[in-house]
């Protein structure tokens, strides 16, 4: 496995795309979080907003970059024919996919940590200016606070799981454009479709199984009782999606010709 990981790391390191994408992940996440922290107002005590969630809203934009990184990591090989060389060199296909998952997930973990820490810092500096002051019941955002730490760590893990889910789906779809469409459809269109369901019970169920909605439940630091699923359980739903996608695509990779 070590050699496979090394090979995948070399492949990803020596093209220009991933570096730019990880940079874009950090920049977009922090920028969107900072803008949200600067513009969302909290006029009076009990304005009902979730301060941690506001400063981490950039994750919803940053996840597109994570998805693109994962899609390019595998579909790039299919479009250039490199996949045949890779699989000749690494005949144990499941291990090859696992190695790719380790590298993509590891890069996302590193860049995601920077992005989330930057967002929390931006929130800490900018939120008081929008009225999130101790007088209104909002102490400065701090990682020493249990729920905030959970939101921050959970957001990083969320990005990692999104990268694994995207990698799994992209391995199954193979074509980069179609894979990007499928992944982003799942990430962005599914939650919107959930909003349009009028039946309350069906909506709750769909919300609970949606990878984005359930996964982002981990960002909640208040009113946890109103969520249909707990923070860690929500992340568990996304983990189940990622595991299913990876396992399914691992099987497909073994069964199909490259």
């Amino acid at each position: 496995m070590r050699r496979e990981v090394h090979a995948e790391w070399t492949k990803l390191r020596t093209v220009a795309g991933p570096g730019w994408l990880l940079g874009a992940l950090v920049a977009l996440t922090v920028a969107a979080g900072a803008v949200a922290a600067a513009v969302v107002p909290c006029a009076a005590a009990g304005c009902g907003q979730d301060a941690a969630r506001i400063s981490l809203v950039g994750v919803q934009l940053g996840q597109a970059m994570v998805a693109l990184l994962a899609v390019l990591a595998i579909c790039g090989e299919y479009s250039t024919g490199m996949i045949r060389t890779s699989l000749t060199a690494m005949p144990r296909r499941a291990t090859a996919l696992a190695a790719k998952a380790v590298v993509v997930g590891g890069l996302t973990l590193a860049a995601g940590t920077v992005a989330v820490l930057g967002s929390v810092l931006a929130g800490r500096l900018l939120l008081p200016g929008s009225g999130f002051t101790p007088a209104h019941g909002y102490p400065p955002l701090s990682l020493a606070d249990g729920p905030v730490l959970r939101a921050a760590v959970g957001s990083v893990l969320y990005l990692v799981l999104i990268s694994l889910l995207s990698l799994g789906l992209a391995t199954a779809v193979r074509d980069s454009a179609a894979a990007a469409g499928v992944v982003l459809g799942l990430l962005y269109v599914f939650p919107l479709a959930v909003l349009m369901v009028s039946d309350e019970e069906v909506r709750q169920v769909l919300w609970t199984i949606s990878p984005t909605n359930a996964g982002l439940a981990v960002q909640a630091t208040k009113d946890l009782a109103d969520l249909p699923i707990g923070p860690w359980a929500g992340l568990g739903v996304l983990a189940a999606w990622a595991a299913a996608a990876l396992a399914g695509s691992g099987l497909l990779l073994r069964l199909r010709d490259a």
């Binding site: 907003q49 934009l61 990007a180 469409g181 982003l184 459809g185 269109v189 919107l192």
Partner: protein, 524 residues
């Protein structure tokens, strides 16, 4: 030495007009099975998700504990759904006449969210669009034509007629120290509204001719107060709106009526009041207390367009999924040429590169428009009939508006596909192009409509980004005088429909221009 004649093909030279180019591009699109499947999948997603949404939406109305069929929406003179509930103190008027009144106070009570569960939390106050003043109405039947001049809770004097029309007068509220005089005059079919602060110097607010106000009408005093609207953050869906009971009481005196029968008595009607389950007790009644020439009129309800009922675009839930599929096909339509090297053949056959891009744009626009139009034109009538069969209240919609939503949505899909094609030609890499167009169109739409951001930021997103194009789907106009949350999350866009689509067109044109520049300037 023998002279060698160079080879010449016997075939006639082909023409290379734009029509030939279009045909070539159409053949390329048509013969790739995956792309045609992609377009068919997009159409299926639009129809399938729309029908699924319609099938899953059921509603029934309760009258106390008893389930009753939902009432049909009340239709106003202009054909839109309206709310018509207020307290009316009136006399019949046949021919010309006028009514003058002095409004000296507006007070009321609002129900706020309960602080202690189960205990009604009622405070004093008036809602912004609480209204009281004078009115001429066709009859006491709900939904008939009217013209009214009123003092409002916090928008000053307004003249409104036939529910949808609204003319603003001077701002400012009323008090005993600074009362407001209102006068409504009928001359033939023309109604004139005037206001004054002292009863002798009058300014005209508006002169209107409502279609239904001919012959015998009712003239008098009225009061109404729409519910108190509160928007609270909701962890699951961003925000929840609630409208709670509110009533207003206006004190009016110096009442002068001209044109009515001498010594005519005032009749009173609580227009549109609903009954408690027992069938005799009115639910939240209005009322009149009269002492000499002073009328204290209390009213509940609103006289305005209604937000009740599902608008026509609600069955188009699948358009977003279809849009993604169509954009993927559009991106591939150009990036596949780069991946396979076909672009070199294409440009060899047609060296004028700008025209190739134009032909590609025309072909993808036509194909996505046709597929989108077929899907949307099926979904709207089918979805609406399923919704109606499931007991849902549908907002009435004019044929032209419905047509605009259908054709506009197909155009939205086509323009988005051209935008995707241009971005694909610009990047030459499919994954990057797909992510770029989705981040440009879908992400702002998701952020704006999922109530994640404050309403004002959401509005700016839908003005400045390509997501503005979704405005073409809004079938219910935004009436400023209607008490509702006019936010993108509720389907109200900041730009008018065609302007929104024009923003998306501008982005597509810009991307197309950049792509043409790159295609002409750099090697393939």
């Amino acid at each position: 030495m023998t002279a060698v004649t160079p080879y010449r093909s016997g075939a006639r030279t082909g023409r290379d007009g734009f029509a030939q180019l279009l045909r070539a591009e159409w053949i390329k699109l048509r013969t790739v099975r995956g792309w045609m499947l992609g377009l068919a999948l997009a159409a299926l997603l639009i129809v399938g998700l729309g029908v699924l949404f319609a099938t899953g939406s059921r509603s029934s109305c309760m009258n106390g504990p008893i389930e009753v069929p939902c009432p049909a929406p009340l239709i106003g003179p202009g054909g839109v759904a309206v709310e018509d509930r207020f307290y009316f103190v009136h006399q019949p008027l046949d021919g010309d006449g006028s009514i003058t009144v002095r409004v000296s106070s507006m007070t009321g009570q609002l129900r706020k969210p309960d602080v202690t569960p189960g205990v009604r939390n009622v405070v004093s106050g008036v809602t912004p669009w609480a209204k009281a003043g004078v009115m001429i109405k066709q009859s006491v039947r709900q939904g008939t034509s009217y013209a009214a001049l009123m003092v409002t809770g916090s928008h000053g004097v307004h003249m409104q007629y036939d529910f949808t029309e609204d003319v603003a007068g001077r701002p400012g509220g009323v008090s005993a120290a600074s009362p407001r005089w209102l006068r409504l005059t009928r001359t033939g079919n023309t109604i004139t509204g005037e206001e004054s602060s002292d009863g002798s110097h009058w300014t005209t607010v508006g002169t209107v001719r409502p279609a239904g106000l001919a012959g015998k009408v009712q003239i008098g005093l009225f009061a109404a107060s729409p519910g108190d609207l509160t928007v609270s953050p909701n962890v699951m869906f961003g925000a929840a709106t609630a409208s709670r009971f509110a009533e207003v009481t206006a004190v009016m005196d110096q009442v002068g009526v001209r044109g009515v029968a001498a010594g005519g008595a005032w009749s009173r009607d609580d227009i549109g009041v609903t009954m408690e389950p027992d069938g005799v007790t009115p639910h939240h009644p209005g009322g009149l207390t009269r002492s000499g020439g002073t009328f204290r009129v209390t009213g509940v309800g609103d006289i305005a367009p209604s937000a009740e009922g599902m608008p026509v675009e609600r069955v188009l839930a699948g358009v977003l999924a279809g849009l993604v599929a169509m954009m993927v096909v559009a991106v591939m339509f150009v990036t596949a040429e780069y991946r396979r090297g076909l672009i070199r053949t294409t440009l060899l056959a047609s060296p004028r590169r700008g025209r190739v891009l134009a032909a590609k744009a025309v072909v993808i626009a036509a194909a996505t428009f046709a597929a989108g139009l077929a899907a949307v034109a099926t979904t709207v009538p089918v979805g609406r009939s399923i919704l109606a069969a499931n007991g849902n209240m549908l907002a009435p919609v004019a044929t032209l508006t419905s047509l605009r939503v259908i054709v506009g949505t197909a155009a939205l899909l086509a323009v988005a596909a051209v935008f995707a094609l241009a971005v694909g030609a610009l990047f030459r890499r499919s994954a990057m192009a797909v992510i770029a167009v989705i981040v440009a169109i879908l992400v702002p739409y998701v952020l704006a409509t999922a109530s994640i951001l404050p309403d004002e930021v959401s509005r700016w997103l839908l003005r400045l980004t390509p997501a503005a194009g979704f405005a073409i789907q809004q079938s219910m106009p935004t009436y400023a005088h209607m008490t509702a949350r006019h936010a993108p999350a509720e389907g109200y866009f900041p730009l008018p429909p065609w302007v929104g689509l024009a923003v998306l067109c501008a982005y597509a044109a810009l991307a197309l221009a950049l792509a043409a520049y790159r295609l002409r300037r750099s090697d393939v």
